[in-house]
Symmetry: C2
Subunit: 145 residues, 2 copies
C-alpha cells in the first residue's frame, strides 16, 4: 500500500496506547506477587514454547545470556519456574513452569480479560467483528516478519 | 453487544500477541541502553503528562510509593530524568525528562515504527483503514474506563 510515515506513526501510537492501559491493569496483580514485567514475559514465553534453555529464553526476550541466567535465578527463587535436565540430553538444562508461575499468568490474564470484557460491553457486534479481524491479521503478519 | 467469554479471551490474546512482538523489537534498544521495561513506561508517562511527582508516577504505573522512589533514583543515576522543585510550591519535587531519557524514548519508538512500517507494506489501503479505525475506537474506550 502507499503508506506514509504519518500512518505508520499513528498505528504504532494507537497500539502503544491500548497496550499501556492493559499493562497497567495487569500490573497491579504482578506487583502484589512481586513479579517484574520481564519475568511476566519470560513466563508467557515458557508457557507458549514449552520448557526452554536459558539461551533460547534470552533469544525470545532479546536479552543477553547473563540477563537470562539472572532472570532464571530470580524466577527459581520465587518458585515461578524450576531448572530441569533434558530427558534426551542430560547436559541440557531447561526452565519449566511451576504451579505458582502458572497461577501468576492466569491471574494477570484474567484481570486483563475482565477489563477487555468491560470495554466490549459498549461495542456492537459489527464493531467487534471489524476490530477482531483487523487485529488477527495484524498479529499474524507481525509474527511472520 | 452479546459478548461471550470466548470473544473476550480472543481479543485479549490477539492484543497480547501483537504487543509481545512489538515489545521484543523495542527491547533490543532498551537493553543496549540498560533501561528496564518499567523505566521505559515511566519515561513515556512523564513525556505524556509532563513533570510528575513520585506519588503521581506511582499511581500511573500502579506501583507502590517505595517502588516509585527507587525507580526515580535509578533513572536519575542513569541521567534519564532529574528531580526539580515545583515553581509554585517549593516543597513539591517533580521528575523531569532529561535529553538522554527523551532520546531513549525516540529510539525505541522509531524502532517500533520501522517494524510496523515493514508489516504495513503488505497491507492494502482498505485493510489499513479498517485496522486503524478499529484500534482508535478501542484505545479511546479503554482510556475512558
Amino acid at each position: 500500500m502507499a503508506q506514509t510515515a504519518e500512518l505508520t506513526k499513528k498505528l504504532e501510537e494507537t497500539l502503544r496506547r491500548a497496550n499501556t492501559t492493559l499493562f497497567k491493569r495487569g500490573r497491579s496483580i504482578l506487583v502484589g506477587m512481586e513479579i517484574s514485567a520481564l519475568q511476566f514475559n519470560a513466563l508467557l514465553t515458557i508457557r507458549e514454547f514449552g520448557p526452554l534453555t536459558m539461551g533460547d529464553l534470552g533469544k525470545h526476550l532479546f536479552v543477553a545470556c547473563s540477563t537470562a541466567t539472572d532472570l532464571a535465578d530470580r524466577m527459581e527463587r520465587a518458585s515461578l519456574v524450576e531448572r530441569v535436565r533434558d530427558d534426551k540430553d542430560r547436559r541440557t538444562v531447561r526452565l519449566q513452569l511451576l504451579t505458582r508461575g502458572d497461577e501468576a499468568l492466569d491471574a494477570v490474564i484474567t484481570e486483563r480479560q475482565n477489563f477487555v470484557g468491560e470495554v466490549l460491553e459498549d461495542y456492537t457486534d459489527e464493531e467487534y467483528s471489524v476490530l477482531l479481524r483487523g487485529l488477527e491479521i495484524l498479529a499474524q503478519r507481525m509474527e511472520l516478519k
